[in-house]
Symmetry: C2
Subunit: 438 residues, 2 copies
């Protein structure tokens, strides 16, 4: 609700939320759709969605004038679009899981929430008609990125495997961006014998904004899924801030590295697998990738949920580590400093790490710096730490190490075997040092 | 100790650890200093320090021959060097706190430990004689980077203030690299009315190695401390992998971003303040910096230790948050996803964050992506989260937010005031969005 004065004025002019209005204040005139007030905003600010997609709030003051220029009854109604299959085009499936890419402005709060069917996306991106056929286009659930759990990863893996084994050329998964790299890592481990591309994509800017990146990302992802020979799980997002190319980035070596920019996703300790130009050309940028093959994708989704991710930092005691062990956690990833260090001075973690391992808990160190590889053989305290049985996760990203540890512990609780599996390269998560540009 | 066979052979030839030897194995000949066995290494590997500074391990096998080529009695003896002050040069102080830069091979374990006085560094870097006078050159303590705590930050701040107020042009602090960015952030807040440069520096490669970066970093840091007009706390480390230039990076906007590379430190959400070329030229790269001034530096070192840094991620429950609150922690920084999100789905953090704040604990969100700025006004769950009283730390790095929260809570426990101080820009830790290249 707006302030009483505004509500009275709007009523007097028969203007409702969603109507098109023209507002004049001094020398400025704004034309657009009247939006509901933003929940935490000022009740005396009138919010208008301009034609460029941005919302603007105009303070209601003396001398302001408003007139209705159009009715809002069609707001938000996307007609369902049925497209005839074209035998010349590859067939893919698009699965939607939620996130900004599937979002439109929530007219209750004025913010973005999560409901838009893939048919609507298809309507929004008519270019897709000339690129791919859509075997299945379905919202398998609608969950904001930050609310994903391993249960969602398992459901995604199941649905993707079903599609791939039903004969499509590839699958695109629309996903919120915040934790997309956790999900891409999870599916990298859960889909065995992968023989086709599985392409995660999303949007950093909401679909109702002029600057939205959703159309470009969906088009590039569809080219990858339909045409490329890459049989890997990865993320396809903008390679730079403008719509020139996207990168396809291995699901285990990628991380969201910016809160808001369109090219927020970066490959860490590896190269992008491919560059996808806006004309659909897929240019391989890393020859070290898995190619399309025959056969069936197998599911391997066993997962142990009692895994945690914590950080080592100056002044950090072992309180959290001990708490997690006592609480029954089966695995703990510690973001270690530098080459793989934890406090071993006035505060000393070695004893409690040893205690955790003696109790059967897998303790893994991953690089807090993100870039580079751990090495326990340079400094003496790390050598001592290694003797406790802690697992130095090479150059595996902390987020990937967390997902992998849950997956490994879903298969075995024997620490010897956990170590062996953590240090086995299943999905490109460990890059041999010589291959890395550092 | 080496294996018995090796020990017997060495004894028969009167070769002791530290002696210079020549070892021939097949067609290869190695010449260098006999090192003690590496603690976790193979007892049958003979370790030799080659003239390029690297250690090599040679497997002791049939057909190997060893001869002594020199005695090791002078190993590790640096003569103390006294240099006469040069009135034409600026006078600075160098304080050593430990770390790789102050390290040499530990002849007990074969790894790097931490003991080398600044006099020895001065001996190692004779170029310094022509650049600066040294008023004081002292090891104030010898602590590995990962073992620093707020007590060390306070001690550093005290010693630096003493030096600056005694008339030197600037201070260089030699520090381990792992947590150097935590220390530089701490001193940024603890030194008020700063009017001269405070330059942290370190080494990513140990000083006994040919590839060590210590000499270049010390020279660049000394130029900064002695000649620049920058009155800020910052880190001076390699700007690229070779010895062409270093960057001076604001203490609150910098992070170690690589486990091992020489240019591991990167400025996040800002620009480096200056580029220091290998000829000593200091080139300003960010006009937004504080200049030298008259006056006294004041200490403001109150610090609350009961602060923690945790992460939000898929599947993360509020167990850790609740544990920390119940354990009496006064402040918690959460590395939030994306624009500032935590789980609000099947697992929902909002209730427990509210509970923490109601109990008087300051809860701060910082960007897990590192790059970019938080924004609670884009997505509806974040708006609800904001209403709990949580503090959105703008573009403050998680590590800086952790240090700042401890410092703020050292001054007040009133949450209103904590919020006000956290969102006040004291030391360049908050960059206005318009200034950021993103």
């Amino acid at each position: 609700m707006y302030s009483q004065r505004i509500e009275v004025l709007l009523k007097s002019k028969d203007i409702k939320i969603g109507d098109r209005i023209e507002l004049t204040k001094g020398k400025e005139t704004y034309e657009g759709i009247l939006m509901p007030r933003i929940e935490l905003g000022d009740t005396s600010n009138i919010v208008i969605k301009l034609s460029n997609g941005y919302n603007i709030g105009v303070k209601f003051e003396k001398g302001i004038s408003i007139r209705k220029t159009g009715s809002g009854k069609n707001l938000g109604n996307f007609p369902e679009r049925k497209v005839k299959p074209n035998a010349a085009l590859p067939t893919i499936s698009i699965l939607s899981t939620g996130g900004t890419i599937a979002g439109r402005v929530d007219y209750v709060t004025g913010a973005v929430s999560w409901h838009l069917s893939p048919e609507e996306i298809f309507f929004t991106v008519p270019e897709l008609e000339k690129i791919i056929n859509l075997k299945r286009s379905e919202k398998i659930f609608s969950v904001a990125s930050e609310n994903m759990t391993s249960k969602h990863w398992i459901k995604m893996a199941e649905e993707v495997a079903k599609e791939l084994n039903s004969g499509v050329k590839g699958v695109v998964i629309m996903h919120g961006t915040d934790t997309m790299h956790f999900s891409s890592a999870a599916l990298s481990f859960m889909l065995k014998n992968l023989n086709k591309p599985v392409v995660f994509t999303g949007a950093q800017r909401s679909t109702d904004r002029g600057s939205s990146d959703n159309v470009f990302n969906i088009i590039c992802s569809s080219y990858l899924a339909g045409y490329s020979d890459i049989a890997e799980v990865g993320i396809c997002m903008h390679g730079e801030s403008s719509d020139t190319f996207s990168y396809f980035m291995r699901g285990t070596k990628v991380r969201k590295m910016h809160t808001s920019s369109r090219d927020a996703f970066k490959v860490i300790n590896d190269l992008p697998i491919a560059k996808i130009w806006n004309n659909g050309k897929v240019e391989i940028t890393n020859q070290n990738y898995k190619k399309r093959a025959e056969g069936e994708v197998k599911l391997d989704t066993s997962f142990e949920e009692k895994v945690a991710l914590i950080k080592a930092y100056p002044g950090a005691t072992t309180d959290m580590l001990n708490f997690l062990v006592d609480k029954g956690y089966k695995g703990i990833v510690i973001e270690a400093t530098g080459l793989g260090h934890v406090p071993t001075g006035d505060i000393n973690w070695i004893y409690d790490i040893k205690r955790s391992i003696d109790k059967g808990v897998a303790v893994v160190l991953a690089p807090q710096t993100l870039y580079g590889k751990l090495n326990p053989f340079v400094y003496e305290p790390a050598r001592k730490l290694l003797q406790t049985g802690v697992i130095y996760a090479e150059d595996i990203l902390p987020e990937t190490a967390y997902v992998k540890l849950g997956w490994v512990l879903g298969h075995t609780k024997k620490l010897e075997k956990v170590k062996e599996m953590m240090l086995t390269n299943y999905a490109g998560e460990i890059v041999d040092r010589r291959e890395v540009i550092d």
